[in-house]
């Protein structure tokens, strides 16, 4: 347990909070990488996912991409790209975007797919154009699942950004790697605790956001369900992380 004392002493020490290797700087880097990577991935993956979800075409490819990505060792991808393009920010950023795309893609198309077909038919029957169906029916109803996809992408990138320091680009992982090289376990532990707190905090924030984006009409329709059903569904939407960001 004295290791933890050492780690918290490091986190509590004023000098750990200043300078280019200070906790705020490293935390900022870590968050910045994650946000930029997921944003870039979303620009690509959300429209493609929506298109797949709306038309139903290319579904097999989307399933293969999102399923196959699980087998891809993130650590290998980072070192491979760093070896090819050199040390710096390009390598980890490229790797992060590649790693974030499958989760966002899956969230986008699964959101559309989860929309009841009869709801879509009803929208068509009342005279909505295809574009209106997409923007007014499928996007709002699929939003919780899309947020779920973004949530697992963020967590994936936050986790992988810990490894980015190996190829020379800072982040909170730098405490772990510096500690590893200097045989300073207390510092490694401090870095690990910071990353874990960050990840769990983000997870909590996203689970709240995901609940908030459920359209009012959907929640209004639920009280007819039995209590058992509601309680069973609630954890489903609350922890999509389940299968590494399920749902």
């Amino acid at each position: 347990m004295n290791f933890f004392a050492e780690a918290f002493a490091f986190i509590g020490d004023g000098s750990s909070w200043a300078g280019p290797n200070g906790i705020p700087t490293r935390l900022g880097e870590h968050l910045w990488y994650s946000v930029v990577a997921v944003a870039l991935a979303s620009v690509v993956a959300v429209p493609v996912g929506f298109a797949i979800g709306h038309t139903g075409k290319g579904r097999a490819i989307a399933v293969a991409v999102s399923g196959g990505a699980r087998a891809l060792p993130t650590f290998g991808v980072i070192t491979l790209i760093a070896g090819l393009v050199g040390i710096g920010l390009t390598a980890p950023m490229t790797a992060f975007v590649i790693l974030a795309i499958p989760s966002v893609l899956a969230g986008a198309y699964a959101g559309f797919e989860a929309v009841d077909r009869s709801t879509v038919d009803a929208a068509r029957a009342v005279g909505m154009t295809e574009w209106q169906i997409v923007t007014r029916v499928e996007v709002p109803l699929g939003l919780p699942l899309l947020i779920g996809g973004i949530r697992s992408a963020v967590l994936q990138v936050v986790a992988t950004a810990t490894l980015a320091t190996i190829v020379g680009s800072g982040g909170l992982g730098s405490y772990i790697i510096i500690g590893l090289r200097a045989n300073d376990y207390g510092r490694m532990l401090a870095g690990s605790i910071l990353v874990i707190v960050l990840a769990v905090a983000l997870e909590a924030v996203f689970s709240v956001v995901q609940r908030l984006v459920v359209p009012a009409g959907v929640t209004a329709g639920r009280p007819t369900d039995s209590r058992a059903r509601v309680s069973r569904r609630a954890p489903g939407t609350a922890t999509p992380l389940q299968e590494e960001g399920t749902q």
């Binding site: 087998a71 290998g76 070192t79 490894l163 069973r232 992380l241 299968e243 399920t246």
Partner: protein
């Protein structure tokens, strides 16, 4: 390519070590998550277990592997440390699958089993467990693939396995070495996944594709519809994971 042929023994050795690192956590996770998943499904208050499991899965792997030695007292570079960490991730994933799978067993079926005289222990093993099989298998497939992939992170800390190919290849600037590591990791994940599917077919012949058409009575076809629906649900859920 030359590098790969001249170092085939080295790569093969790393592959075997990696396999030994990845398989125990999957088996352990399945065994451990059975009672926990049962509990989470059985009592409403214990559904909270699933939230905890979901939150646990948010913990990035490298930090977990660093923190574990301080808690369980293993050495930082010990494979045991990695096996414990991977088992915890596996349990975090599998508990929900087990709970969902058991929850999908129809109440009528459970009550019928009780009515014909099964004790709750017999009912679990002879009725609920087999019927929950397909959904649990889907969960276990996710666990095996992510475990094989996550085990490479141990390489950062110097734990033997395919992850060492990444570190070594990066430091010595041998892209072939890294590429070989990535390809072998993916192939290993896919092979183990395929083995699970085969095992599932051998153990659960009633779940074979096309088996439903052989079912003549209306009741059994309804049942296979139900299992079909729940297993169709599961991939969709897991697909969003990364």
């Amino acid at each position: 390519m030359n590098w790969i042929w001249s170092n085939a023994d080295y790569i093969w050795d790393k592959t075997l070590v990696h396999l030994a690192l990845s398989v125990p956590p999957v088996v352990l996770a399945f065994v451990i998550s059975l009672p926990i998943g049962w509990l989470a499904n059985r009592y409403r208050v214990s559904r909270g277990i699933l939230t905890v499991a979901g939150l646990f899965y948010a913990i990035p792997s490298l930090p977990l592997f660093v923190v574990l030695p301080a808690i369980v007292g293993t050495s930082l570079r010990s494979p045991v440390n990695i096996v414990i960490g991977l088992t915890l991730y596996g349990v975090a994933l599998m508990v929900r699958s087990v709970a969902d799978a058991l929850g999908a067993v129809e109440v009528d079926v459970r009550q019928s089993a009780t009515a014909v005289g099964y004790s709750s222990w017999q009912r679990f093993w002879r009725v609920e467990f087999p019927l929950a099989g397909p959904v649990m298998l889907a969960g276990l497939r996710v666990v095996v693939v992510s475990t094989v992939s996550l085990a490479t992170v141990g390489g950062v800390l110097g734990v033997n396995g395919l992850g060492l190919l990444f570190i070594d290849g990066f430091q010595r600037d041998i892209p072939e070495e890294i590429l070989a590591g990535i390809v072998i990791t993916i192939v290993m994940a896919l092979v183990l996944d395929a083995l699970l599917v085969l095992l599932g077919r051998a153990l659960m012949p009633w779940n074979r594709p096309g088996g439903a058409s052989r079912a003549s009575s209306r009741r059994s076809s309804t049942r296979s519809d139900a299992t079909g629906a729940s297993s169709a649900l599961t991939p969709r859920r897991e697909a969003v994971g990364s």
